[in-house]
C-alpha cells in the first residue's frame, strides 16, 4: 500500500494536545495554588494553537501510521469543531470553577485528555485505535463528572456513568471482536472489503452489528440506552455537563461513521433497521419524558435523548445526504447545548446552581439580556425558524424524504411539536412569570456573558444566513460513501 506510511505529520494536532496536556499538568504542579491562571491560560493557548494546526491541515488527505490514522476533510472539520467546543467549555466555566474550588489544574488536564480522545476517535481508521480514543474520552469524563468528591450526587452520577459506560464499551468491544473474527482484520478499509465476501445475511455479522449499534447508541444517549444520561447530566458540575453534551456528540458520530460506514457500509440493511427502532423510541421518550421534568439540566438531558433521535433520522436515511445531515445536526446540536448549559453556568453562583426551571422565574426582569438569549436558545432547540435549529431539522427531514421514509418524517415532525411544548414552558417561566424575590443570580461574569452572547446570537445569525455553515458541514462528508 502506497499511502500506508508513517506520516506522523498528519497527527500534529493530536500530538500537540497530548504534549500540552502533559505540560499543563507539570506546570500546574510547580506554580502552585496562587497562580492557577497560568494553567488556565496555557490550556486556552493550547486549544487555540490546536485549532490553528488543524486549520493548516484542511484540504490534505491520506493515511498515517500504516493505515491506522486517517486524514480527510471530515477529520479536519470535525477536529476543528471539537477543539472549538472545548475552548468554549473553558471560557464559560472559569468563574464557575473558581467559586466552587474546582479551579484546579487537573480539570484542565482531564479536559485536554478528553479532547485528545475525541480527536483520536475522529481520525482513527482501525478498530483498536478507535477503541483507545473512546476509552480515553470516556475515562476522562468519568473523572470529570465525579470531580467534586464531596458532592454525593456528583459521585453517584460518576459511578453510574462509569458502570453503564463500561458496559457500553464492553458491548462495543464485543461487536468489534466479532467483526474481527469475520474479516480477520482490524483495519476498517480491509473490513469493508472483507464484508463483501461475508454477505449481508450472515448471523454473526448481524450479531456484530447489533452489539456495535447498541454500544454507539449507549454513547450517544439514544433511548432505550439513555438511562445513565439524566443522572450524569444532573449530577455533574455544569461545565462538565456542557462538555459532555457537546464534544462527545460529534466524536461519537465520527465513531459511527468510521465503524459502520467506512467499515460496515455493507451491512447497512441491518443497522438501518436498528436505527429506525432507536429513532422511534428516542423521539418518544426524549420528548415526552422531558415534559415531566422540573430540573432544567435533567430536562435538557431528555432533550438530548430526543435530539439524538432527530440526529439518527439522518443516519436512518443512510444516503450521502443523510449522513451529512446527521453530522450537520450533531454540530448544530453541540452549539445549542453549549449555549443552553452555558446559560446555566452563567446564572449560577456558589451554593446556587440555577438548575431548576423555577430558578428562571421572571428572568426577563432581573437579567433581560440573558432572557433574550434564552429565547433564542429555546426556540433553536425547538427547531423554530429563523434559528439554526430549524435548518438542522430541515436537513434530516429532507434526507429522510429523499430516502422515501415519509412516515418516519411525519412522526418526527409531530414529535418536534411535542418537544416544542417543554421548551416553551421554560420560556413561560422566564418571560411571563413574575420574578422571584429570593433569587439572586451570580455576580456578573463578563467572560461567560460575552461567550454566551456570541454563542447564542450565532444561533440566530446563522439561522438567517445558514448557507456557509451548511456548506462547511456537507463538504466534510463529501465522498464518504
Amino acid at each position: 500500500m502506497q499511502n500506508a506510511l508513517f506520516h506522523w505529520s498528519f497527527a500534529i494536532p493530536e500530538i500537540w494536545v497530548l504534549a500540552m496536556a502533559c505540560v499543563v499538568l507539570l506546570v500546574d504542579v510547580f506554580v502552585g495554588e496562587r497562580q492557577r491562571d497560568v494553567a488556565y491560560v496555557l490550556s486556552i493557548f493550547s486549544l487555540l494553537a490546536a485549532m490553528a494546526l488543524t486549520c493548516s491541515q484542511m484540504g490534505q488527505t491520506g493515511f498515517a501510521f500504516f493505515g491506522q490514522f486517517h486524514l480527510d476533510p471530515f477529520t479536519s472539520i470535525a477536529s476543528f469543531l471539537v477543539e472549538l467546543l472545548s475552548l468554549l467549555v473553558l471560557l464559560y466555566s472559569r468563574k464557575y470553577l473558581l467559586r466552587r474550588a474546582l479551579y484546579r489544574g487537573e480539570v484542565f488536564v482531564l479536559l485536554l485528555f478528553a479532547l485528545l480522545g475525541a480527536l483520536i476517535l475522529i481520525s482513527g481508521s482501525n478498530l483498536l485505535v478507535l477503541y483507545l480514543g473512546l476509552e480515553l474520552l470516556a475515562l476522562s469524563q468519568y473523572a470529570l463528572v465525579a470531580f467534586q468528591r464531596g458532592n454525593l450526587r456528583a459521585t453517584e452520577a460518576g459511578l453510574k456513568y462509569f458502570i453503564l459506560g463500561a458496559l457500553a464499551s464492553a458491548l462495543l468491544l464485543y461487536g468489534m471482536s466479532l467483526l474481527y473474527g469475520l474479516t480477520g482484520t482490524l483495519d476498517l478499509h480491509q473490513i469493508a472489503i472483507g464484508l463483501v465476501n461475508v454477505g449481508g445475511a450472515n448471523y454473526l455479522l448481524m450479531l456484530a452489528v447489533i452489539f456495535l449499534v447498541a454500544g454507539i447508541a449507549f454513547k450517544f444517549g439514544a433511548a432505550p440506552f439513555h438511562m445513565w444520561l439524566p443522572d450524569a447530566y444532573q449530577g455533574a458540575p455544569t461545565p462538565v455537563t456542557l462538555f459532555m453534551s457537546s464534544v462527545p456528540k460529534i466524536a461519537i458520530f465520527a465513531l459511527f461513521l468510521r465503524i459502520l460506514v467506512d467499515g460496515g457500509y455493507g451491512s447497512i440493511e441491518i443497522w438501518q433497521q436498528l436505527f429506525v427502532a432507536l429513532v422511534v423510541v428516542s423521539l418518544l421518550i426524549g420528548n415526552v419524558v422531558a415534559i415531566a421534568q422540573t430540573n432544567l439540566k435533567r430536562m435538557l438531558a431528555y432533550s438530548t435523548v430526543g435530539n439524538m433521535g432527530f440526529l439518527a433520522l439522518g443516519i436512518v436515511a443512510g444516503t450521502q445526504n443523510g449522513l451529512a445531515s446527521a453530522f450537520f445536526y450533531a454540530v448544530v446540536y453541540a452549539f445549542m447545548a453549549t449555549a443552553a448549559f452555558g446559560l446555566i453556568v452563567y446564572l449560577s453562583r456558589e451554593g446556587f446552581e440555577a438548575e431548576e426551571i423555577s430558578d428562571l422565574r421572571g428572568l426577563v426582569r432581573t437579567r433581560p439580556w440573558a432572557a433574550f438569549l434564552l429565547l433564542i436558545i429555546m426556540f433553536s432547540l425547538a427547531g423554530v425558524p429563523p434559528t439554526i435549529g430549524f435548518y438542522a431539522k430541515l436537513a434530516v427531514f429532507q434526507a429522510l424524504i429523499e430516502a422515501h421514509f415519509v412516515w418516519l418524517a411525519v412522526f418526527g415532525v409531530l414529535m418536534a411539536v411535542v418537544g416544542a411544548f417543554y421548551y416553551l414552558r421554560v420560556l413561560k417561566v422566564a418571560l411571563f412569570d413574575p420574578p422571584a424575590e429570593d433569587l439572586a443570580y451570580g455576580a456578573d461574569d463578563p467572560l461567560a456573558a460575552s461567550v454566551l452572547t456570541v454563542n447564542s446570537l450565532a444561533l440566530l445569525i446563522l439561522g438567517i444566513v445558514p448557507g456557509a455553515l451548511v456548506a462547511f458541514c456537507y463538504h466534510a462528508l463529501q465522498g464518504v460513501l
Binding site: 429563523p386 430541515l394 411539536v417 414552558r425 413561560k428 411571563f432 456537507y474
Partner: protein
C-alpha cells in the same frame, strides 16, 4: 421585471427598526421608542407604496422579483415576488402596523419598547410571508411570525394569557410542520427546487395530491381558522392585548386563505376539485354554526373573534367554488375583514381602556356619553353586517353570487349567514351603545381623543372607499385570479 430590492426593504426595514427600538428601550418614559417605532412603521408603509404605484395590472406574472441563492447546498433561494393577490395584503400589513403603533401609544402598561419592537418585527415577517416565492423561505417567515405573537400574548395579555399563548403556538406549530413535510416531498418531485412557481408546474399523481392537499389544509385551516380547529382563536383573542388582536384578526387569519390561493389551489388542482365538497361543508358550518355561537357570547372580544371565524367561512367558500367572481369576492372579503375586524377590535380596545372590562353587561347607553365613538362604531358594525355601501357588502355579495352560479344550495345557506351576522352584530351594538345608562362608570366615560379618532377614522375611510368604489381593488387582483383559475382548471395528474 425590474428589481429595485423594494420587497427586501419592506421586509428588513421594520425588522431592523424593531431591533433599534429594542436597543432604545424604555428610557425617558418610552417616548423615544414610541416615536422611533412610528417612524419605522411609516417608513415601511412608504416603502410599500411604490409597489402599488409601480404595479402592472396587465400581467399575472410575478413582479418586483428578487432571487439570490440562500442555502445553495439545499437549493434554497431567497426568492421574492408579488402578484395581484399578494399586493393588497402587503399594503394592509404595513398600513395596519402604523395604526397599531399609534393605537398603542398610551395604553400599554409596561415595557412599551419591547411591545412596539415585537409588532415591527412581526410586520416585516408578515410582509415576508406574502412575498416569499421559495417554499422554505415562506415557511421560515410563516413560523418566525409565531415568536413575536407568542410574546405579545404571553407578556401583555390578560389573566389567562399563558394558557392562550401556548395553545396558540402549539396549535399553529402543529399545523405547519406537516406543511414542511409536504414541501420536502414536492422538492423531490419538482426537479430539486423549492420554488413555489416550480411546485405549481410539477405533475403529481392523484393520491399524492390528496395527501399534500391535506397537509396544507391542516396548516391553513388552523391559521384561518376553520371549524373544527378554531378553538385556539377565541382564547388567543380574548387574552391578547388590543394590538395583538388587531394583527391576529386582520392579517394572520388572512395568511391561511392566502396559503390556499398561493399553494393549495395551484399546486394540487385535482385534489382541490376532489375535496371541494369538504371545504364547502366546513365553510358552511363556520358560517352558520359559528355565527350562532357568536350570538350567545357575553365577552365583546370573544363575540368578534367568533364573528371573524364566520366571516372567514365566506372566504373559504369563495375559494373552493372556482369561479372568478367568487375568488375575487373572497379576496375582497379578506381585505374588508382586515379593515373591519381591526376596527372592531380597536373599538373594544377603546372601551376596555376606559372601563377595564369586556363584558357586554357592564355597558349600555354609551352613545349618550361617547357620540363620536358611537357613530364610528356604527359604521364598522354595519360593515361587519355587510350593509351595501360598506366594504363588507362587496365581498360577501360577490362570494354568494359566485357560489350561486355553480352551487345554488350552498349559496342559499351561506346567505343565511348574512342574517345571523346582522343578528349578533346589531344585538351587540344595541346592548353596548344604545339604551339608557345603567352603570355609573359608563356615565363618566370620555369620548374619543384625537389619536383614537385618527386611527378609527382612517379605517372608516377605507371601509367606505372599498364599499362604494371597489373597482381599483378588483383591477389589481383580476389578472392574477384569472391566471389562478386557469391553473386550477388544468389537471396535473400525469398521463
Amino acid at each position: 421585471m425590474h428589481s429595485f430590492g423594494l420587497l427586501s426593504a419592506a421586509i428588513w426595514a421594520p425588522i431592523i427598526g424593531g431591533f433599534l427600538v429594542l436597543a432604545v428601550g424604555d428610557r425617558a418614559g418610552g417616548n423615544p421608542a414610541r416615536w422611533l417605532a412610528l417612524l419605522v412603521s411609516l417608513l415601511t408603509f412608504a416603502i410599500t407604496l411604490p409597489l402599488f404605484t409601480g404595479f402592472d395590472t396587465h400581467t399575472a406574472a410575478m413582479q418586483f422579483v428578487e432571487r439570490v441563492p440562500w442555502i445553495p447546498v439545499f437549493h434554497i433561494t431567497y426568492f421574492l415576488g408579488i402578484d395581484g393577490i399578494s399586493l393588497w395584503f402587503i399594503l394592509l400589513t404595513s398600513f395596519l402596523t402604523v395604526l397599531v403603533v399609534i393605537a398603542s401609544w398610551r395604553n400599554v402598561p409596561m415595557r412599551i419598547a419591547q411591545y412596539l419592537a415585537a409588532f415591527l418585527i412581526m410586520d416585516g415577517l408578515m410582509i415576508g410571508v406574502f412575498c416569499a416565492l421559495d417554499a422554505i423561505l415562506f415557511y421560515v417567515f410563516w413560523e418566525a411570525m409565531l415568536i413575536p405573537m407568542f410574546l405579545i400574548i404571553g407578556v401583555w395579555g390578560g389573566p389567562r394569557r399563558v394558557y392562550a399563548t401556548i395553545k396558540f403556538f402549539l396549535y399553529t406549530f402543529l399545523g405547519s410542520v406537516l406543511m414542511l413535510v409536504a414541501f420536502l416531498y414536492l422538492y423531490f418531485h419538482s426537479g430539486d427546487s423549492f420554488s413555489l412557481l416550480a411546485f405549481q408546474k410539477t405533475p403529481l399523481g392523484a393520491n399524492a395530491q390528496i395527501w399534500i392537499f391535506l397537509a396544507f389544509l391542516i396548516a391553513f385551516a388552523v391559521k384561518i381558522p376553520m371549524w373544527p380547529v378554531h378553538t385556539w382563536l377565541p382564547d388567543a383573542h380574548v387574552e391578547a392585548p388590543t394590538g395583538g388582536s388587531v394583527i391576529l384578526a386582520a392579517i394572520m387569519l388572512k395568511m391561511g386563505a392566502y396559503g390556499f390561493l398561493r399553494l393549495s389551489l395551484p399546486i394540487t388542482p385535482d385534489a382541490s376539485h376532489q375535496l371541494a365538497w369538504l371545504m364547502i361543508v366546513l365553510s358552511l358550518i363556520a358560517i352558520v354554526y359559528i355565527a350562532l355561537i357568536a350570538i350567545v357570547q357575553q365577552d365583546m372580544k370573544k363575540l368578534i373573534a367568533y364573528s371573524s371565524i364566520a366571516h372567514m367561512g365566506f372566504v373559504t367558500l369563495g375559494l373552493f367554488v372556482f369561479t372568478q367572481t367568487a375568488i375575487e369576492g373572497a379576496i375582497i372579503q379578506m381585505l374588508s375583514h382586515g379593515f373591519v375586524s381591526a376596527a372592531m377590535f380597536l373599538c373594544v380596545g377603546v372601551l376596555y381602556d376606559r372601563m377595564h372590562t369586556r363584558d357586554i353587561q357592564a355597558y349600555g347607553g354609551v352613545a349618550n356619553v361617547m357620540p363620536i365613538f358611537a357613530s364610528l362604531m356604527m359604521l364598522f358594525a354595519m360593515a361587519n353586517v355587510g350593509l351595501p355601501g360598506t366594504s363588507g357588502f362587496v365581498g360577501e355579495f360577490m362570494v354568494v353570487l359566485g357560489t350561486y352560479q355553480v352551487h345554488p344550495w350552498p349559496a342559499i345557506i351561506a346567505a343565511t349567514g348574512l342574517i345571523t351576522g346582522a343578528g349578533y352584530t346589531l344585538w351587540l351594538f344595541k346592548r353596548v351603545i344604545f339604551g339608557g345608562i345603567i352603570h355609573a362608570e359608563v356615565a363618566a366615560l370620555n369620548d374619543l381623543n384625537g389619536r383614537e379618532i385618527l386611527v378609527l377614522g382612517s379605517l372608516a375611510v377605507f371601509v367606505l372607499l372599498q364599499g362604494v368604489w371597489p373597482a381599483p381593488f378588483l383591477d389589481i387582483v383580476h389578472q392574477s385570479v384569472a391566471h389562478l383559475l386557469q391553473q386550477v382548471a388544468t389537471s396535473k395528474v400525469p398521463g
